[in-house]
């Protein structure tokens, strides 16, 4: 019994020493965190929280509103709808996407190269 108490006491002393050392030496992870915060000062404080998870859940979301599209078509009537610049990542805002803008998703007609 007394051995145990002595052991814990010794352990406590070493952890105190370690903490003193740690205070002087920043862990690599914390150093990396400081680097990140320096590059992106506006980074939110909830790293693993809602924002990141919400982005994960929304994977695959495309933005196309058939109502807006048809309204725009009706307004312009005979004129052609403005097409988007070839370089675009998300179609939101003033430009109404047209079926031509949406990237074509076709199934692979080619066999896998693993089988060749």
């Amino acid at each position: 019994m007394s051995d145990e108490i002595e052991d814990t006491k010794a352990a406590e002393e070493t952890t105190v020493d370690e903490k003193e050392v740690e205070d002087k030496v920043i862990s690599p992870e914390k150093a990396e965190e400081a680097k990140l915060k320096a590059r992106y000062p506006n980074l939110g404080h909830k790293p693993g929280g809602s924002d990141l998870l919400r982005k994960r859940l929304q994977k695959g979301q495309k933005y196309f509103d058939s109502g807006d599209y048809n309204m725009a078509k009706a307004k312009i009537k005979n004129k052609q709808l403005p097409t988007a610049a070839p370089e675009k990542t998300e179609i939101t805002g003033d430009h109404i996407p047209t079926p031509q803008d949406l990237p074509q998703r076709k199934p692979s007609l080619v066999a896998s190269k693993l089988a060749g």
């Binding site: 150093a31 990396e32 680097k35 693993g48 809602s50 859940l57 695959g60 495309k62 199934p107």
Partner: protein
């Protein structure tokens, strides 16, 4: 140092590599899953283009009894196609997230393959005979005029060249609002589970129009969302037990006998974290990317960004073993966050007798940890080491200071060459390692 992987004396040799050599990788060719069947005779791969390729091991030849058979293409088919959900304005990728084999019950083989939204049951069967000698049909299929038939004969089966056919037998659709990350066949061989970010469903293999929700962690208010489900698996022999892992580094074990909805876990496995060590990256790197039961069912293994942990199902407080996969990346987390590599989902696997575990890393390196001998080794899957039966040389990453010859420094690692998917033959020392678009097969050296 000779190489972990089932004893002190195991040496791994190159056996085969599948796939194109060129560096220009089409996105469809990116391998997304690799899985041996229960006998190890078949090896299935799925890719981002929605295709499945199945390889079959050739029987051991009589000439070289010591040499294990090679894996050759057995069947290939388009499992899933890209879809667009117009109601939700959601693009559904055809990428095969997981393949799981059913235990073989008759001559045909069955596997489940899934993309983000739909699971399909495929039957792969062989045809090596065909009927000939019909009375009303010519051999080429044209119909004969019944008036010209003067005698009758009995059609007979004649041998033909082997044809392997894959046909979709069941389509399990419309049960997942979020993206499916796991499927797992129950040991009862009648049911299986599918898990997405927030829910887990239980299916019967015969029934496609109904599935039971067994776990639902969606909060009433999505603003309160703090964690998602990252992987799930049924226990290998207890048909009532399954586990699921989370983005916060926890694993919950559930017992389906306890209640219909298993939102309350029976056990929760979590390693306590030192609050002083907490950083911006802590939660992200603690996210579990894979969970696998040992074949014995006594242990389970989890993979987070930097380590592999072995848990004893009887102890929830901490893992019994922890292996560092690439600890040197801890001082690179900032860049790995910027290039999104910190979100890479590595898988892990057990060898047949649960003595060795394996997982992938960057630079086309993969790691094996021998639990008994307490040895680990780093090997590389590359075309440079692809001479038949050449022994793989252990690789070493230099973490600082002077770089020795043959070592590679952390800054020279290619983070685009990631090995996310590996598989170990259930009985033999044969492993399948997937680089971005190539499949490597390695075997241990037989003398």
């Amino acid at each position: 140092m000779a190489g972990a992987g089932g004893g002190n004396d195991v040496q791994w040799c190159f056996s085969q590599v599948k796939g194109a050599i060129d560096d220009d990788v089409a996105e469809a060719d990116i391998i997304s899953t690799v899985e041996f069947n229960h006998s190890g005779e078949l090896l299935a791969t799925g890719d981002k283009g929605g295709r499945v390729v199945i390889f079959q091991q050739e029987p051991e030849s009589k000439n070289q009894p010591q040499c294990r058979g090679e894996y050759n293409v057995y069947s290939t088919f388009q499992s899933h196609e890209p879809e667009f959900d117009y109601l939700k304005s959601l693009e559904i990728e055809e990428k095969i997230n997981k393949i799981r084999w059913l235990p073989q019950k008759n001559a045909a083989q069955f596997l489940l393959s899934t993309n983000d939204k739909t699971i399909k049951l495929w039957k792969i069967s062989e045809r090596d005979k065909r009927p000939e000698g019909y009375n009303l049909k010519e051999e080429d299929g044209r119909y004969r005029d019944p008036n010209t038939v003067t005698t009758l004969r009995v059609p007979v089966f004649r041998p033909m060249d082997l044809m392997v056919e894959a046909s979709p037998r069941r389509v399990f659709a419309n049960a997942h609002t979020y993206h499916i990350n796991s499927i797992s066949v129950n040991s009862d061989c009648e049911t299986y589970l599918s898990a997405d970010d927030l829910r887990i469903n239980l299916w019967h293999l015969e029934i496609t129009d109904r599935s039971f929700n067994i776990v639902d962690i969606k909060p009433a208010n999505m603003e309160e969302l703090t964690e998602v489900i990252t992987a799930a698996e049924f226990h290998p022999n207890q048909c009532n037990t399954f586990v699921y892992s989370s983005s916060k580094g926890t694993i919950r074990l559930c017992d389906m006998r306890a209640s219909a909805l298993c939102d309350q876990h029976s056990k929760m496995f979590e390693e306590p974290e030192d609050p002083n060590n907490r950083s911006f990256f802590s939660e992200i790197i603690s996210s579990i990317s894979d969970v696998k039961f040992s074949h014995s069912g006594r242990y389970m293994m989890t993979r987070d960004y930097l380590s592999v942990k072995i848990w004893d199902l009887n102890m929830e407080t901490r893992p019994v073993e922890t292996y560092q996969v690439h600890e040197y990346l801890r001082s690179k987390l900032c860049s790995l966050y910027e290039n999104d590599c910190i979100f890479d989902k590595f898988e892990c696997c057990w060898n047949g007798n649960d003595s060795v575990v394996m997982t992938g890393s960057y630079n086309n390196f993969f790691r094996m940890f021998d639990r008994g001998y307490r040895q680990d080794v780093t090997l590389e899957a590359s075309r440079e080491n692809s001479k038949p039966r050449s022994v793989l040389k252990p690789r070493k990453v230099c973490t600082g200071g002077k770089r020795k010859k043959d070592e590679i420094s952390v800054d020279s690692l290619d983070f685009n060459k990631k090995i996310l998917h590996t598989a170990w033959h259930p009985l033999d020392n044969i492993i399948a390692v997937a680089t971005t678009n190539n499949l490597y097969i390695f075997q241990d050296k037989l003398n």
